[in-house]
């Protein structure tokens, strides 16, 4: 083999090895860190059973926010049109966390409760994460999403 070919072969082999290692690592890291989004009714239907950690999306039920009197523990209920899921969180809630607003919580199930490690609220008045809208639409295929739940209206 002449030097040019040898150089080319080395480079190609090096790149190939790097690509294989990188691809393997990427697949591994993706598998470890993919978080699926489910709504309460999907969780109750058992769709999330195979995932340890997942994201729970829905609306914060009016009047469900309860603070503990001596720690930062807070509990609230996340609802969609046909399901409800109690959520427990230990920490400071985001600024835009309100009743009747959309919320996405990351965490895991503990019995019938969802223990959240992170809570994200929507970012401006009219914004609802597209994926949450889609997930809720999918959970109630055929039913109409309760658009009024999106508004800042007091519940009757």
């Amino acid at each position: 083999m002449n030097p040019t070919r040898q150089r080319r072969l080395t480079i190609i082999l090096a790149i190939l090895a790097a690509v294989i290692v990188a691809a393997a690592l990427v697949v591994y890291a993706l598998q470890q860190n993919m978080n699926y989004l489910f709504t309460p009714s999907q969780v109750q239907a058992g769709e999330a059973a195979t995932y340890k950690t997942f994201r729970l999306g829905g609306m914060v039920k009016a009047g469900s926010i309860q603070r503990s009197s001596d720690s930062l523990k807070v509990t609230f209920t996340v609802v969609d049109a046909s399901g409800a899921m109690p959520v427990e969180y230990n920490g400071i809630l985001p600024d835009l966390f309100r009743e009747n607003q959309s919320v996405i919580a990351t965490g895991h199930m503990d019995g019938a409760r969802f223990i959240a490690t992170e809570v994200l609220a929507k970012h401006d008045e009219t914004y609802m994460p597209k994926e949450l809208k889609d997930a809720m639409a999918k959970a109630h295929a055929g039913k109409h999403i309760d658009e009024s739940a999106n508004q800042d209206k007091p519940q009757p």
Partner: protein, 657 residues
């Protein structure tokens, strides 16, 4: 009347942009000098009209012209004047206008500083910039017109999103866009080279300062954004691997690779096709980034409400730019490729390995960022990729870069001999081990922190050794040309950045606590005493302001005033209090009152100590400085005439080789 003038100015700019894109291309193809000469005046004229449109929009904000929809949506009577100017780029329409304005700034700068380039080549470069500008002006005029009227005119506007009412907003987007858009110059240059079918080293020399400057701006923009997120948005984090952050980070990574590949191409004529490909990628990723921020297709802390009609146009434009340029590349790259051979141990090899790592890192970030879209398209469900994905892969990819970095300046072009490298290896390794041992006594056995200190010492000592070597060996005045000084500054920035990241990540202490007035919490060796909450007001907000007195072993350190602001439209925004320091930041954020009806009582507070967190941004600023300093090298500006003559012979020789 005035807003309509703004729209008219944009339409005129569009026509000039069309002229700038079509006529010079024809001229360069046909060898018609008159048509080529259209490029310069058309570009200048376009810039004047775009600047006029921008000024009219600024004026509309300053004069509270709520008959303009965009103004009514993004400002109100209470908003201070500086945030009203910042509100111009506070939402989609204005950001796009700012984008075009900055593109025009770059184009005009180009016409001013490129008089020595061959006419046909310059005509093609300006035409490509004109095409990009045409695309954006069409986008603005047809889908996101900032001058659309709102009738009847409301008495008061809505509000700029409170998150955006921060000093960061005044400079972060313009600087970031300067970086994004700056890559269009390297892009236009590459397309022009492909169209012309040849690429001379002198032209790459001419393109380099533009790329370096654009990269410097991008670094600055990212640092500003990170600092802003830290101070305002993120409850104390400096990087979240959020889709929008990634959007700016991808072109930056490719930009690093591009800067180095351009150096190889300019000095050695090697890696030409690769350099061209990288500049296509860098700009395509900038475009992708621009659109990701405002499109709302990804769930992000930055995502705002969006208009789905724009999606089609964006997708089409991206397809034309990315697809078109890659097609051209496939057709023409073999014509411009070529160069000298190099040995395995050489500067080219080292740069190539670094290039590989940076492009793979950019691809990795892109996969993680766009994976939710992919999952959606393949019906895998609603997926998001968590930060640990990036947190695991990115350091792994950067490890070889950090390890190779000290050797960079010592390596010779073409072929390098081992003894010098061994010497550097031994010295830098000794320094790294010594620093790691010393650090081990201070960081309570945190491996990450020790590794950070060792890595920083490895890189930093490597850079310093080279500085000393140049000082000894070269004559005064020739020791550090700007190009090299820039490189050394940027590489030193890597060392500073490493310290910041590794120490703040491993040694930071965060506690969410519940404190009644008078209670004390201890975090990271500091005592935080909560002294209650009082009311305060600003220009367009009222706030509950907490008082937190920080002491260390009884000695006073700082009195901090975190706020919970309520803006005119009932939007709530937390404003944290930060006591900055070189070796540590103290950070206090107000959560919520434990009992909403009893504000004077107990509150939830988040307390942090963050050692060395400022070094992260200091490192980024060093890198930015490196980009600017090397862009300022005289070598890029003078001698061009002479070089042009030499380059012809050089290409002849290479084509024979």
């Amino acid at each position: 009347m005035t807003p309509e003038l703004g729209q008219l100015a944009l339409i005129l700019a569009l026509f000039l942009a069309l002229a700038q894109s079509v006529l010079p291309l024809l001229g360069a193809w046909r060898g018609n000098r008159a048509l080529m000469a259209v490029a310069r005046p058309a570009a200048t004229g376009q810039a004047v009209f775009v600047a006029l449109a921008f000024a009219i929009l600024v004026a509309a904000f300053l004069r509270f012209d709520f008959s303009v929809q965009y103004v009514a949506d993004n400002s109100n009577l209470q908003l201070p004047w500086y945030y009203r100017i910042a509100a111009v780029w506070g939402a989609h329409e204005g950001s796009m206008l700012l984008w075009v304005l900055i593109l025009n700034v770059w184009t005009v700068a180009l016409t001013l500083f490129s008089r020595r380039l061959p006419d046909a080549f310059l005509a093609r470069v300006l035409a490509v910039l004109g095409i990009i500008s045409t695309g954006f002006l069409c986008f603005i005029l047809f889908t996101s017109n900032p001058f659309a009227r709102l009738l009847p005119m409301p008495p008061d506007g809505a509000d700029l999103n409170p998150v955006l009412q921060d000093p960061g907003m005044t400079f972060h987007p313009p600087v970031l866009y300067m970086g994004y858009v700056g890559f269009s110059v390297a892009f236009a240059f590459s397309i022009a080279a492909l169209l012309g079918g040849s690429m001379e080293q002198s032209w790459v020399r001419w393109a380099r300062p533009w790329t370096n400057a654009a990269w410097g701006f991008l670094s600055c923009g990212i640092v500003a954004g990170s600092w802003w997120a830290y101070a305002e948005l993120g409850w104390g984090g400096w990087w979240f691997w959020d889709p929008v952050e990634n959007a700016s980070f991808m072109p930056w990574l490719v930009g690093v690779a591009l800067i180095h590949a351009q150096a190889v191409t300019e000095k050695r004529g090697t890696l030409r096709a690769w350099t061209i490909l990288l500049s296509l990628f860098a700009f395509s990723l900038s475009l992708l980034g621009t659109f990701l921020v405002r499109s709302g297709i990804l769930t992000s802390v930055h995502a705002f409400a969006s208009d789905p009609r724009r999606g089609t146009f964006i997708l089409g434009f991206l397809a034309v730019v990315v697809g078109g340029s890659l097609l051209l590349y496939a057709l023409r790259a073999p014509k411009v490729a070529g160069g000298k051979a190099f040995a395995l141990v050489s500067r080219e090899s080292a740069i190539l390995i670094g290039n590989l790592m940076f492009t793979v890192a950019a691809a990795m970030v892109m996969l993680g960022t766009l994976f939710p879209l992919l999952g959606d398209a393949l019906n895998l469900g609603k997926i998001s990729v968590g930060p640990p994905y990036f947190g695991l892969l990115f350091p792994l990819l950067m490890l070889p870069v950090v390890l190779l970095l000290p050797f960079g300046p010592y390596l010779r072009w073409g072929n390098s001999e081992a003894p010098v490298l061994k010497q550097v290896l031994v010295r830098a390794a000794m320094a790294a081990v010594a620093c790691a041992v010393i650090a081990a006594f201070f960081v309570q056995g945190q491996l990450k922190a020790i590794a950070g200190v060792a890595g920083a010492a490895w890189v930093g000592v490597g850079v310093v050794l080279y500085i000393v070597k140049r000082w000894r060996e070269m004559a005064r005045g020739r020791r550090y040309p700007a190009e090299m000084a820039g490189m050394l500054l940027a590489h030193f920035g890597v060392a500073v950045f490493l310290i910041g990241v590794m120490l703040s990540e491993s040694l930071s202490v965060t506690r969410d606590v519940r404190l009644s007035p008078g209670q004390i919490a201890t975090v990271g060796g500091y005592e935080f005493r909560f002294d209650g909450v009082s009311e305060t007001t600003g220009p367009n907000w009222t706030a509950e302001q907490g008082v937190v007195t920080v002491t260390r072993n009884g000695a006073p350190v700082a009195v901090m005033h975190p706020q919970k602001r309520t803006y005119t439209r009932e939007q709530v925004q937390t404003t944290s209090a930060i006591d900055p320091g070189i070796t540590r930041d103290i950070y206090v954020a107000l959560g919520e009152p434990m009992d909403p009806n009893h504000v004077a009582g107990a509150w939830a507070l988040r307390l942090y100590t963050k050692p060395f967190v400022r070094w992260i941004w200091a490192g980024g600023l060093f890198m930015m400085l490196g980009g600017f300093v090397s862009a300022a090298d005289r070598r890029f500006r003078v001698k061009r005439e002479v070089e042009a003559a030499q380059a012809v012979t050089a290409t002849l020789q290479e084509s024979q080789a």
